[in-house]
């Protein structure tokens, strides 16, 4: 056997029918995650064809995108403010009941953002194929799974057959040598990588993040990195499983236990790219040279170290349009620019360690007057954990708005939005025009930078407050 990459091992193990020049591979899907926004049309397609969900035990549904984060709305004390969102929630409840799919409903203690709850349960594991009608499915690649986003038609294909028709992507090694310095997070690392390769640099490829800088990351940090693979255009991002992975998974509700656990770890240990495996493309990144990063434009590739100035883009009409939207100018320093809203949460940075990082900055400090700091845990479990650990008290004492879990302000479709023209420093993944609300101006950064900037009311280097 020639040496092969992690991706090739997982791909090959799931080929029901290999691809040919004329036909794509039939790829088996181990776990299908479903949410309320991209599934209604897929369930309707099954209903029209009188087809059942073929493997309901491999299907897990939750609601996160359009759900409110205000406790009163979540727990039914007042109606859900966005009517259409309420209909979508009811639709998923009906579809799950009709097709026999397990659903973590609106008031379920296990509910949360789809890419947060599956790892939390131990349902996302090494070597699996995982899909969801959501581009940030790449998150689960942190476990050494092949995980990618699909459209609603493909959601229907997986519901009906547990398989997808896929062409084999190319492979791309991102080698991170050197550990991240203090005050620099996994979010800064992935923003730096996207800044380097560009928002379409990964198109057609599955990225494998490798090297000492990656091995040193916790599972939560690895999820942050893999989560934003799609922002570089990549089909998926993967990290080979190791002791950090096994330690995270051990004892989780859906992880194997007892003798099954030992056998699983033996299999998972084989899931790494062989020495001499060839990638279609590779780059090297010096993790030790990375600084806190922040975006200044309208895609995640328009990013600079927080201490830097906005690049001069005279003559570049597209960059000029982005800066015009943001109200910025080439040559402006990023530090010191005012912020109106700060959002800490999302499938990128809504996990417990992200909240702990924010709390290290917010403890004993206050949010600057006039700034709205919204902190939204990635799951109800994280909410309970953060409350038990005293983090929620630190947030509330600082003047933050502490909510129920959901996608919230990452995308303006659940009532949590940023007003037109306002600056939002956000730990989410997309700074596209209008992403957080029509006319909203988004700056992407880490939870540390978000918390520090909330305290000062201006873009702040978190290293000044650590």
């Amino acid at each position: 056997m020639p040496p092969s990459t992690l991706f090739e091992k997982v791909w090959q193990a799931h080929e029901v029918v290999p691809e040919t020049a004329d036909t794509p591979a039939v790829l088996y899907i181990d776990l299908h995650l479903v949410h309320e926004v991209t599934s209604p049309q897929a369930f309707s397609a099954l209903r029209a064809l009188k087809l059942p969900v073929r493997r309901p035990e491999r299907t897990l549904a939750t609601m996160d995108h359009s759900t409110p984060t205000a406790s009163d709305q979540v727990f039914g004390r007042v109606p859900i403010k966005v009517d259409a969102a309420a209909r979508q929630v009811r639709q998923l409840e009906q579809n799950a009941a009709e097709f026999g799919v397990e659903l973590f409903g609106l008031r379920d203690a296990r509910r949360g953002i789809v890419h947060v709850i599956s790892p939390e349960l131990g349902a996302s594991r090494p070597g699996m194929t995982i899909v969801c009608g959501d581009s940030h499915t790449s998150t689960h690649g942190a476990f050494g799974a092949l995980a990618f986003g699909i459209g609603s038609t493909e959601v229907g294909h997986v519901l009906a057959t547990q398989c997808l028709l896929q062409r084999k992507p190319k492979t791309f090694a991102v080698n991170v040598e050197g550990r991240l310095p203090a005050g620099v997070t996994a979010k800064d690392l992935i923003l730096a990588i996207i800044g380097r390769i560009g928002v379409s640099g990964g198109t057609g490829h599955v990225v494998e993040y490798r090297g000492e800088g990656i091995r040193a990351l916790s599972m939560e940090e690895r999820m942050t990195v893999c989560n934003m693979s799609i922002e570089a255009g990549a089909r998926a991002g993967m990290i080979a499983p190791d002791e950090t992975t096994f330690e995270y998974l051990k004892g989780r509700p859906r992880a194997p236990a007892g003798r099954d656990w030992e056998a699983a770890v033996q299999r998972w240990t084989l899931l790494e790219s062989d020495a001499g495996a060839v990638f279609d493309r590779s780059i090297d990144i010096d993790g030790g040279a990375i600084e806190p990063m922040i975006t200044y434009g309208t895609n995640p590739g328009m990013v600079v170290p927080i201490t830097a100035a906005i690049p001069d883009c005279a003559g570049d009409a597209v960059a000029g349009k982005a800066l015009g939207y943001m109200g910025f100018h080439g040559g402006d320093a990023m530090l010191g620019k005012p912020v109106n809203t700060v959002f800490i949460g999302s499938c990128t940075n809504g996990r417990l360690t992200d909240l702990q990082a924010a709390a290290t900055v917010l403890k004993g400090r206050k949010v600057a007057p006039g700034v709205h700091l919204l902190i939204v845990p990635g799951s109800q479990q994280i909410k309970r954990d953060a409350e038990a650990a005293g983090l929620a008290d630190i947030f509330k004492t600082a003047g933050a708005d502490w909510r129920e879990s959901g996608c919230s302000m990452c995308l303006g479709m659940n009532g949590d939005t940023v007003a037109a023209g306002q600056y939002s420093l956000s730990t989410s993944n997309r700074n596209f025009e209008g992403r957080q609300g029509a006319g909203a101006r988004t700056l992407l950064a880490s939870p540390l930078t978000a918390a520090a900037s909330a305290v000062r009311g201006r873009i702040t280097d978190p290293r000044e407050l650590l």
Binding site: V16, D22, C163, L165, K321, G412
Partner: protein, 193 residues
């Protein structure tokens, strides 16, 4: 699905790179539970002013753009989310083909499954198309080429199976269900990781 062989139309040009799916159809319109009727919200934040009236300067709103079925855009069209609402909105509006130098992976897959042709051309063809809004072009799926009014014919790559399905109106789910014996055999012999 109806067979699709070619699209002949004047072009409408959006000369921006990295047009993401949040521009094609903003998230606040994703609360629908059907796939119909999204054309009205296509490019909503660019097409309409704050008071809801059409912005006359936006290319799709110009009189000469009415009825155009081919959209020409800058590099990396359709990046961002997996929302299939993006091709649904384009098709509902009347767009049948999108031409760019690069088209994002998930958008491309979603477009092909709905009969919207994603066409990637080289820099020189793209530059000509971007500079000539309203050009009468033919996107010929059978021969996998774009024919410009200058007579130039530019080949484009398209995944062979998707092309076959579009040309013959074949439903991919039907094909996939035809593989159920192989899928069952796989399930009985593979324990997985």
């Amino acid at each position: 699905m109806q067979p699709l062989r070619k699209v002949s139309s004047r072009t409408v040009v959006l000369p921006f790179t990295h047009i993401d799916t949040d521009q094609i159809i903003p998230a606040r319109f994703l609360t629908t539970t059907t796939r119909e009727g999204l054309g009205r919200q296509l490019f909503s934040d660019w097409r309409y002013r704050a008071d809801g009236t059409p912005d006359p300067d936006f290319p799709l709103n110009r009189p000469e753009a009415q009825g155009c079925e081919v959209l020409v855009a800058g590099r990396n069209f359709g990046c961002g989310s997996s929302r299939e609402h993006a091709p649904w909105a384009l098709l509902d509006y009347g767009i049948r083909a999108v031409i760019s130098t690069e088209i994002a992976d998930i958008f491309r897959g979603n477009a092909l499954k709905n009969g919207l042709l994603p066409v990637t051309v080289d820099e020189s063809i793209a530059a000509w198309l971007l500079a000539h809004p309203g050009a009468a072009v033919t996107v010929d799926l059978e021969n996998a080429c774009v024919v410009l009014p200058t007579g130039v014919s530019a080949a484009f790559e398209i995944e062979s199976f998707a092309r076959h399905c579009l040309l013959h109106g074949i439903d991919q789910l039907g094909y996939l269900r035809g593989k159920l014996p192989e899928i069952e055999r796989y399930e009985s012999t593979h324990a997985g990781f």
